[in-house]
Amino acid sequence: MPVTNWRHVKSVSLGLLIRVASFTVIFALLGMVVQMMVVAAPIFAASTLERIDAPDEGRDTPVSRTESRDADLTRRTYWVSKGGWQLKGTPGNPWLWVHDQTAVRLNVSELPSDFSIAQLVGHQRGLAVLVGNTLEHFHFSQPISINDVPAVERVKTVVMGSDIVALAGHPRLAVVALATSLSEIQVVDFRNPDTNLRIQVDVAIDRIVWESPSLIRALTSSGDPLLFAFRATDIGGDWRRLLSPIQYEGYPSEEYLWLPLPSAQAAEPKFSVVPLVFGTLKAALLALLFSAPLSLGCAIYVGCFVSEAQRQRVRPAIDMLTAFPTVVLGAIGLFWLAPRFGEFLSALIGIIALFPILAGLGVFVVRGLGWRWVRHDALDDWPLRLLPLVLLVIALGATAGLSGAARLPGGSLEAYLLSTGLSISYFNSLLVGIVLGLAITPTIFSIAEEAIHAVPRNMAAGALALGSTPWQSYRDVVQPLALPGMIAAIMVGFGRAAGETMILIMLSGNTGIMDLSIFEGLRSVSASLALELPEAPKTSSHYQVLFAMGLLLFGLTFIVNTVAEIIRARVRMRVRGL
């Protein structure tokens, strides 16, 4: 009977377990990415129009007719409203006018003199006007001064091939359904000029109505209605609307807007991901700006200049900070830092400005006094012994910054900035950058220190032996080898900052503005996902766009982290060869 080799069994089963675990993780990740793609994909689908026999029950809510569009049919005056304003037009007349609900203020828009309105239809913010064979799309445009009436602006012109017998405006979007004299049903999407949806029917059409946002009913002369299903995403099948500036109805110029509007029934949702990506990048770059000097400086010092015993004490302490929950950092930022941000900033400026001078002076004084506990041939024992000096310098710098700010006209940094016309928002990008920078500092430190420490010590020692100073040996021998690793560390830090959520929700103010000023707020992709996913309906374009953004964020951090990992692996190979 053969003796069972238990050690072998153990190693095989352990190997099995590890493989199962790793495959599970990989496929779970893959599954999630595929799932996200499946959810996000419909947003890129093109609009469709098809003839159907019966409406799909319960799929869509019917259009509420409270806006008395039908009543207007009898008066032959068509209007769309925007806030307190109404845009009106009457068939047969060559003009459109803007009307205020409280006072009658006429603003006849400039139109060609031969412009005679054959028919017009409105949706909430705009008006489609039929002149002969041409469809003209008008909307309100914001005036420059406060007492002006909104202007009427011609946005787009679509020339139709044949005469139009019936026309109906989509209840929500800048989309018009029409029937031509050639018995064709056609949908014109003003948002996307490439849309060409048409269906040939054999009967003449009298009238056309939108039963719901996705259902068109065409009434024939014989009396039998024809039904057509119109499917379109909120971006009209044009993915460029996610990325390029859009002239929305009611806005004077092309803009990047993230206003997904989950509640309003009547307005067009605005899905530009640009402000959010901008916010994410802004926050991450500011965080790096704050964190990179701090963490790299720390890594160079710990990795190259302190004794192994000191390093063994410092490194685990900073590594442990990596696990510090960001929500706690966010809370500290919210309750402690934000209320006294002006003072913090003046102290920080004082420290940054005075640290090199004071620290240099301090070291000079200490050495000049010839105190034996500071040896200038080795830096090994410095960190703890220099701590009192460093703390003193920081305290001096902060005091100088604060008292300097108090001496500014106005009495504080904020008041001074106010008098120069610069206002610091309570939730601003700099605040986010500082707290986010603190959050990623341990990560960058950890990876950069590892890269620096991986450089064989005997090389630096050789340089020292040949007479170079410790700094020269670092600069000329260690740094060239460790630099790729340090870059990788910064990239990983960037990836972490870009994906961070809690700090951004708590401190960024979640304002979707694109402003380069560091004193204004921002809105990041991750914060938008966290805030909006819970309330976005599962089949809505909003939900799909959020998932697409989630994929974008995943892709960004995945690529950055992968590149960083490749660089690290290469550095490890190179250093091993030495």
Binding site: T24, G31, G58, G83, Y251, L257, P262, S425, Y426, G521
Partner: protein, 308 residues
């Protein structure tokens, strides 16, 4: 080894697919889950505590995510009672019809107001609704234009003339946000410059700290640290939240999924009866709400009566 690999592959696919198609299960057993509005969170928690004392066998869970969470939770059955600081809209109602489900019973619960708040140092006492649209909306909201950037743009003699307006509001999940947008912003676009904060208390605390701040929140969140603004009417009167004609008054709703025709009295019914009862009404008044009646919705008492 190859076979082994294949087997792992199959296992991994199975595991990962379970991630993909995981569905929430809806097991319920003598437990009551209440979701919904952040505005009503304090009140509902107080109710739940007292109700639990009266009925120790029932497990109660309260989640206050925002009004928008109520319809999907009721639809999926993850909760049977939901609170909303606005009325369910047609889309949300339509979803129940689409799933061949009875819509929930709508109860008008209480009335509160959304108030506009500024910092104590601010000399501003009242604003008109047109100014509210200007401050909180994108340019063009309610026919307005030109957003005031500094307080001097709004009032020449403001004590904070050189301060920038810092506008604070709620996130889109909030019923207060949606109500405010519909009523104060004429259903227009809210400004992208508005700081969106996850809770009403956050808005009040932040405005209390920011001299140039202005925000909106439900009355129940306001504190003495902030100044409540009056609203100027076109006829020159200035209305405060206690006035009957205050334009930002709203009704808060309770949505209940239960079968009124069934023979045994459900937990949901018992909860509604408790809410309609004396103790429930006392807590409601303590929380600063007034009991209201809108013509086209049932009161808690009506539903409690129908349960029996």
């Amino acid at each position: 080894m190859k076979r082994l690999f294949k087997r792992f592959f199959a296992v991994s696919v199975l595991v990962s697919s379970s991630f993909v198609w995981a569905q929430p299960d809806d097991e319920r057993d003598r437990s009551l889950i209440i979701v919904g509005s952040d505005t009503l969170a304090k009140l509902v928690t107080a109710w739940a505590e007292q109700f639990y004392v009266l009925n120790p066998t029932i497990l109660i869970e309260v989640q206050a995510v925002g009004s928008a969470a109520t319809p999907p939770a009721l639809l999926l059955g993850t909760a049977t009672i939901g609170t909303m600081s606005r009325r369910m809209n047609a889309d949300e109602r339509g979803a129940f019809a689409g799933r061949q489900q009875r819509p929930p019973i709508e109860i008008s619960l209480a009335q509160d107001a959304v108030v506009l708040i500024v910092h104590q140092q601010n000399s501003l006492e009242s604003v008109s609704m047109a100014e509210v649209g200007q401050i909180f909306g994108m340019p063009g909201t309610c026919g307005s234009s030109m957003r005031p950037v500094f307080w001097r743009d709004l009032r020449e003699d403001s004590t904070l003339a050189n301060w920038k307006l810092q506008v604070f509001g709620r996130t889109a999940t909030s019923g207060t946000y949606q109500y405010f947008r519909r009523v104060a912003l004429c259903d227009g676009d809210p400004g992208i410059f508005v700081n969106e904060l996850p809770g009403g208390a956050g808005v009040v605390n932040t405005v209390a700290r920011v001299p140039g701040g202005i925000g909106y929140a439900a009355t129940s969140y306001t504190s003495n640290d902030v100044k409540i603004l009056g609203i100027e009417q076109p006829d020159g009167r200035i209305l405060y939240p206690d006035d009957a004609e205050y334009p930002l008054k709203r009704t808060l709703y309770l949505y209940v999924m239960t079968d009124l025709t069934s023979e045994s009295r459900s937990i949901e019914c018992e909860f509604v009866a408790y809410v309609a009862g004396e103790k429930g009404r006392d807590l409601l008044r303590d929380a600063g709400f007034s009991i209201s009646q809108v013509p086209d919705a049932q009161s808690a008492q009506d539903v409690a009566d129908a349960c029996d």
